[in-house]
């Protein structure tokens, strides 16, 4: 479609001159783009009004108008997006944004994705996705939930207004150079020109933006007072969908850091990474607690709180990463206007959402009550607390440096007020601090992953406890003792192995018992029984598959407990032994292509005297950024470990090469775990409506 639109655009611009009042004599893409955004803004305002008035007067006509307005705003957002893509493709460097993030030498693919490569464009991309999701959600639910729809439309359009307003008044992606128009683009940073960077931000974005839909439904439920399970049924799959994209985006970001940055790790608790993690915590909590509401009619208010917080955290995350409020190694321009605007928007969300919630509290009373701590409800409750604690902890620790900075600024401006305390210093909070607290929290969550599904609803009997826990406990103990015997002495590592074993066995046990039962009922082979088992209760077994992925990821993290790292200098012919591997320097060679010059080292990886692989780490000097050579990592991957090499410095004349060597045990299980989690989530997402009753039995 965008090609068709682009073609239309080019047609328009060729027809334009006689119509135009622009001094340059042509209706430029930029003018058309800004005009489209203006129309979109007015349209969204109209949609809010139609939805709100339509709901108030119960007027079908007004409501239908609001629904059509939602679709139309997607159309306009798509048109504006195709205009900017067209500007990238045609190299229209009169537009500042295009000039900043692309150049003529960039491959076609990167030119298209440069659309979301910078702040202004990424906001437009946000609007595009938001209006798309809004249209899809409204289309899917407009018959089923007629009462809710006008409110949903109004809330979604209000959010559209905010972001389109940002585009219009603060960050117009179509703004032009006023005086001299450059003839060349600056190009996109080479570090960002790779496949992960193309998939990872939009994936996080999809997760982020789609969380607005559940929020709109939650708000509509509060407005109308229809706070029973109806709104959730429409929302549960949306949250699952958001959750999948968040998970995918987060882990892909880790994989990018691991493969591109060359420091041997994948997660550093950087504010930008944390911003993506925050809504993930609360969305995960929601996906669990929503089951309690379905089964027991409990936690109605709590589920709404989680939905509100998840959406709020997407805005907080955007605020943290885009406004320059939080110091980060990812350099963002500091932008006070944007910061205040976002701050105001967040305040409005908090006041309106929680105000409505408090107003509707009488309707949100639980039907059921917690009967025993040995129940699945209680396990879910603890799971929710832990996820919320994770979110609060990460948010506070991420924002803490900013708070200390504000304290200093206040002390400078109002010395009298602040005299009672020492203004102190700015502080920064590094990965060790996060790890200290998140490690036990993570392991507690892993333990619950194992325990929860084994407990019955309401109350678990002692006999059932023994039957359920004996096997997993024994296996867990075995998984702790074995690595200990093999010489691993980190208590965290051992605890992680043990809990992985415990949880793994609970999952195996569930599948084993389910399959055995089915085969008793009818003659089937194991595979048939497995497939029919999963298909009959997709949410339950899909959930177990997700849990299996979680176990595999924790296994990958456990490997951290005994990773090895060493910085060495080698000349050709020399070798170095790290752990079970020997690295031998075979030589250097220099090559170049049209974008860059490259120096590559050939390194043989030997294990037991046998050459396993030849690694080729490199340094690349892009002509575009000659001062910042990039490090190209090379690794030898096995299920047990990665041999990971990056080249830090190299001297062609003497052959002297400075290398960072890492042996990262089990690290690949993190990516495998991600794939398993996503597969499980897909199984869950495929739930048919008729299945609801038999699930989670």
């Amino acid at each position: 479609m965008s090609i068709a639109l682009a073609a239309m655009t080019s047609l328009l611009s060729s027809l334009a001159p006689p119509l135009s009042a622009v001094p340059t004599g042509a209706l430029s893409i930029a003018t058309l783009g800004t005009a489209t955004i203006l129309v979109l803004f007015v349209l969204s305002l109209g949609t809010v009004a139609l939805g709100a008035i339509g709901a108030h007067r119960r007027s079908e006509r007004l409501i239908e108008g609001a629904v059509q307005g939602t679709y139309a705003s997607f159309g306009l957002a798509a048109f504006a997006s195709s205009l900017i893509i067209y500007a990238f493709l045609s190299g229209d460097y009169s537009i500042q944004y295009v000039q900043h993030t692309s150049d003529a030498a960039m491959p076609l693919f990167y030119k298209i994705t440069a659309f979301w490569g910078g702040l202004d464009g990424s906001l437009l991309f946000w609007v595009l996705l938001h209006t798309l999701f809004g249209s899809l959600a409204v289309r899917a639910n407009r018959m089923r939930h007629r009462e809710l729809i006008p409110h949903v439309v109004a809330v979604l359009a209000t959010i559209t207004c905010f972001f389109v307003g940002l585009l219009l008044f603060i960050k117009d992606p179509f703004s032009q150079f006023l005086l001299e128009v450059p003839t060349q683009g600056k190009g996109l940073n080479p570090l960002l020109q790779n496949l992960y960077m193309i998939i990872h931000p939009p994936s996080l974005y999809l997760g982020y933006v789609s969380l607005a839909v559940p929020y709109a439904f939650g708000m509509a439920a509060l407005f109308t007072g229809q706070v029973d399970a109806a709104w959730q049924r429409s929302v549960r799959r949306w949250v699952l969908f958001s959750w999948m994209f968040l998970t995918f985006g987060l882990i892909l970001g880790g994989l990018w850091a691991y493969e591109e940055l060359g420091w041997g790790g994948y997660w550093a608790w950087d504010p930008v990474e944390n911003a993506g993690l925050l809504p993930w915590f609360t969305a995960t909590a929601f996906l669990h607690s929503v089951m309690i509401q379905e089964r027991r009619g409990m936690m109605k208010a709590w589920n709404l709180v989680l939905i509100i917080i998840s959406f709020l955290l997407t805005i907080v995350g955007t605020f943290m990463t885009r406004s320059g409020v939080v110091q980060s190694v990812h350099a963002f321009g500091s932008d006070p206007v944007l910061a205040w605007t976002f701050g105001g928007f967040m305040l409005v969300i908090v006041l309106v959402s929680f105000g409505l919630l408090i107003w509707r509290l009488p309707l949100l009373r639980s039907r059921g009550e917690l009967e025993s701590v040995m129940s699945r409800e209680f396990a879910f409750l603890v799971n929710n607390w832990l996820f919320l604690i994770c979110a609060i902890f990460v948010l506070t620790a991420t924002m803490w440096p900013t708070f200390t900075e504000w304290r200093m600024i206040l002390a400078e401006r109002y010395p009298d007020w602040m005299a009672w305390q020492d203004p102190g210093e700015r502080v920064v909070i590094g990965p060790p601090f996060f790890n200290q607290y998140m490690r036990p929290l993570g392991l507690a969550l892993l333990l619950l992953t194992g325990i929860g599904p084994l407990l019955a609803w309401r109350k678990t009997s002692t006999a059932s406890l023994v039957r359920q826990f004996a096997g997993p406990l024994a296996f867990g103990v075995g998984c702790t003792v074995l690595p200990w015997q093999l010489g691993i002495d980190s208590p965290w590592g051992l605890a992680c192995f043990g809990l992985c074993g415990f949880t793994f066995w609970t999952i195996v046990q569930e599948f084993y018992r389910g399959i055995a039962l089915r085969r008793k009922q009818r003659p089937q082979n194991v595979l048939e029984a497995l497939i029919s088992l999963v298909l009959r209760a997709r949410r339950r077994y899909g959930g177990y598959i997700v849990h299996l992925g979680v176990v595999l990821m924790f296994l990958g993290w456990a490997g951290n407990a005994y990773k090895l790292e060493k910085k060495v200098q080698l000349r050709p012919g020399e070798e170095y032994t790290l752990g079970a591997y020997t690295i031998r320097h075979e030589g250097l060679h220099a090559t170049e292509d049209w974008q860059k010059e490259m120096i590559t080292a050939d390194l043989s990886v030997l294990k037991g005297g046998e050459v396993k692989d030849v690694l080729r780490p490199a340094r690349w000097w892009y002509y575009q950024l000659p001062d910042q050579p990039t490090t190209e990592v090379s690794r030898y991957m096995t299920p047990g470990e990665d041999v990971y090499v990056s080249m830090q410095e190299v001297d062609m004349t003497s052959g002297w090469t400075q290398l960072s060597l890492y042996i990262n045990p089990l690290v690949n299980w993190i990516w495998i775990g991600m794939a398993v989690m996503l597969a499980g989530a897909l199984v869950c997402a495929g739930t048919r409506k008729s299945e609801g009753a038999v699930d989670d039995a």
Binding site: G333, V373, P401, Q628
Partner: protein, 141 residues
């Protein structure tokens, strides 16, 4: 039937106990003061003997590397005219460049900032890019 009161009390005690333990035992490893070079230079005695983070711009022309050693650099960082000599012994990140902003972790020893940990401003898509000067030759060999 709801949970008995004793169970609730035990739960509350357990939760607060764990929280108190975690906060007291966890400590504050990884929490460091973060100071800009100008302030650091002005109040140098105050920071002596403490591990801190210092943020400044690498002064062009001051970077020297000892070839043959595993990442051994000396350079100066600067803010508002105050300069601080740095001795850095580790690999430098890809984004380290003269004139670029760095955050160094380390401590003051004999008037020189000794550091083994550096974060150089990471390229982000959401950044106005430093324009590359096409007249400069490609990086060092």
């Amino acid at each position: 039937m709801a949970l008995p009161v004793t169970t609730k009390i035990v739960l509350a005690l357990a939760v607060s106990g764990i929280a108190v333990y975690m906060i007291s035992a966890g400590g504050s490893e990884g929490v460091l003061e973060y100071i800009y070079v100008d302030k650091f230079v002005d109040e140098m005695p105050r920071y002596a003997g403490r591990i801190v983070k210092v943020h400044g711009t690498v002064v062009p022309g001051t970077v020297q590397q000892r070839i043959g050693a595993a990442g051994d650099y000396t350079f100066e960082v600067e803010k508002d005219g105050r300069r601080l000599p740095v001795h850095y012994t580790n690999m430098v990140p890809d984004t380290f460049a003269e004139g670029g902003e760095v955050v160094l972790t380390g401590e003051l020893k004999d008037g020189r900032f000794e550091s083994e940990e550096m974060a150089a401003k990471c390229p982000s898509k959401y950044e106005e890019q430093a324009s590359a000067d096409p007249t400069k030759p490609p990086g060092k060999r």
